[in-house]
Symmetry: D2
């Protein structure tokens, strides 16, 4: 099984993005899963088109998109993407959409086709804190997720995963900022890939 895993570059003044740190620390192979990596720009207009280009090139059997969410305390599997793009601050390309549809005429929301609750349980059983989230927000993460869920519908399973800050990032943030170790998040994603592989078999 071949899985494309995407992450995002740093944004909004941060020097690092926990999703990129985790992507880089993932091995090339997890059990029988071949991991293909791709870093995306934090840009409403370009993230999904670069992801789609990678999918067309790589032809994976599943896609796992990683993104950083500064207030989450554990690995968050996103249940749904919504057809709205909004930014309170410009993305890395300077765009600042105001509640625009991601796909004109698309449905309001699209569920992930993978069994996210079972996958989260598998990650927890492996010893890593993990939960299902019911909102991926309205920023670039959600736009990427919605675009891929809309385009690939039932032909390719896509899952978006929000990650907390890495410990080294939280070292420069307020004391109440939750974080996880990159190695632990990487192991959690490996456990997730094994569970996806088992679920898709």
């Amino acid at each position: 099984m071949k899985v494309l895993i995407t992450a995002f570059e740093p944004f909004r003044g941060d020097a690092q993005n926990s999703s990129q740190l985790v992507l880089e620390s993932l091995p090339e192979r997890v059990g029988e899963v071949e991991v293909v990596k791709c870093v995306l720009p934090v840009a409403f207009a370009h993230a999904s088109e670069e992801a789609i280009a990678a999918i067309e090139r790589v032809r994976p059997q599943a896609v796992v998109c990683l993104g950083q969410a500064s207030t989450r305390a554990c690995v968050n599997l996103e249940r749904i993407a919504v057809n709205m793009a909004h930014a309170n601050n410009p993305d890395n390309a300077g765009a600042k959409p105001c509640r625009q549809p991601v796909v004109a005429g698309g449905p309001d929301g699209i569920f992930c086709k993978l069994p996210v609750d079972d996958l989260a349980q598998a990650v927890r059983a492996a010893g890593y804190p993990c939960a299902v989230s019911n909102t991926a927000g309205l920023y670039v993460c959600n736009t990427l997720y919605y675009s891929l869920l809309h385009r690939y519908a039932d032909v390719l399973p896509v899952l978006f995963v929000h990650l907390p800050y890495a410990h080294q990032q939280a070292a420069a943030k307020p004391a109440a900022t939750p974080s996880m170790a990159v190695a632990s998040m990487s192991d959690a994603i490996a456990a997730l890939l094994a569970a996806i592989s088992a679920a898709e078999r």
Copy 2:
């Protein structure tokens, strides 16, 4: 330099205590610091007497006490202990003191003699989230801290450190529960020991 490091056993229904997990993962030597380990009972009446027995036996140049605090998101160095022992739930020996003095006639509060703000900065500089806390609570942690600060005053530096849950513990807690990797907390304590060693030199 020889440092005694204490941790606590599990309590209140938890199968593990993050302080004990971190203690066990610490090496026997950190730079020029010799580490001597001691696990204490979560008991108002016994924790400090066992710690004092260990101190008399080991004759360390500093004492670092570790404890678990379920709501903290990073390594917390405690600035002060207060002369009050209180429990909302019984300790592991069944005791449930109600706002009693830790030491009859002792001062209301006793500051840590180590430069906690500089130590926290050193741990952050090493890449681990760390802050100074102004309250160690009123439970066994504070009673231990107060007892040692009161007894050893200026003759032996003592520091209490509150640690978040370990990731594997948070895997069984609500999604918003913050946690840290045991390996990262252990490395953070190693960085702390190096900084204490430098400060005491």
Copy 3:
């Protein structure tokens, strides 16, 4: 303009439900808005059918559903309902659905047709903390919201509002539990009704 406002009865061991307290303290008329009140059971199988019966009877020009959300700190206008019913604890009728569709064959998500961001801004401008939320959860609140948004689509505007605990409820909860005054929440809902009335005119 006639608006039906629903609230929920107490559930899960609480003696009160903040939504019901707020409903009871609302006046019968807010500016040119006639307020018709209805208390619903916290039951997946009955909440929406009772709401629909009230709508058919009252023939309102808009529906505002109030519900209590224990972790919210301000008035939350819900942007979207999703086609999933799930409970970790039984509802007041003993039902405990496990990720079932609310409406078989319905779309995954349905946006509120009202301009929720403008409405939230109007409530804040009136001096009450208010935000738009992107998830109404998976419990009875979301099931009610989804059922009404699905049934009434473009013919009747429906908005779900999550409220924090009332101060008197938080008096018996942990110290970090956020809450609002019933009188303030009631005034916030009045400001919301005025804004809905202006938006629908």
Copy 4:
């Protein structure tokens, strides 16, 4: 019984201070307690000297100092003040002390002499969320509290109370910011005064 109640002026860019709003909404008399009001500057060098001047002038039987704490969700009665003044941002007079003693040679901490746990229980029994806090921080609030507890020791009971933001302030803050209604905080302080009056009788 005559009680001096102090509050603080706005600081750090805020247009209002919840403690001042609550002070202004308090009646001149609560049961048999005569309330005398005094607004203090947010200044390490001046807050306590102005409070002391008011105490010498008013000759109260108790002093209750109110202050705003942006992260608290309920009325917080402070158990202890510590002998350290520190600011991460300048106070209203431009001072930014760095871990200086409040009173040179003073004890590290001084407990409030009032039965804070019983008082908090009385406020909760009146229907307002209230808890005892074990740290008043290191900013001007703590400096004022320490100065008064140190100076008046056993001759005059002094209590510091931290209040959340008022709802109207939270309307301009992030959605997770807790707040309380000014009227409710004022009623909570009235319940506190009644309980102090009963305790001192």
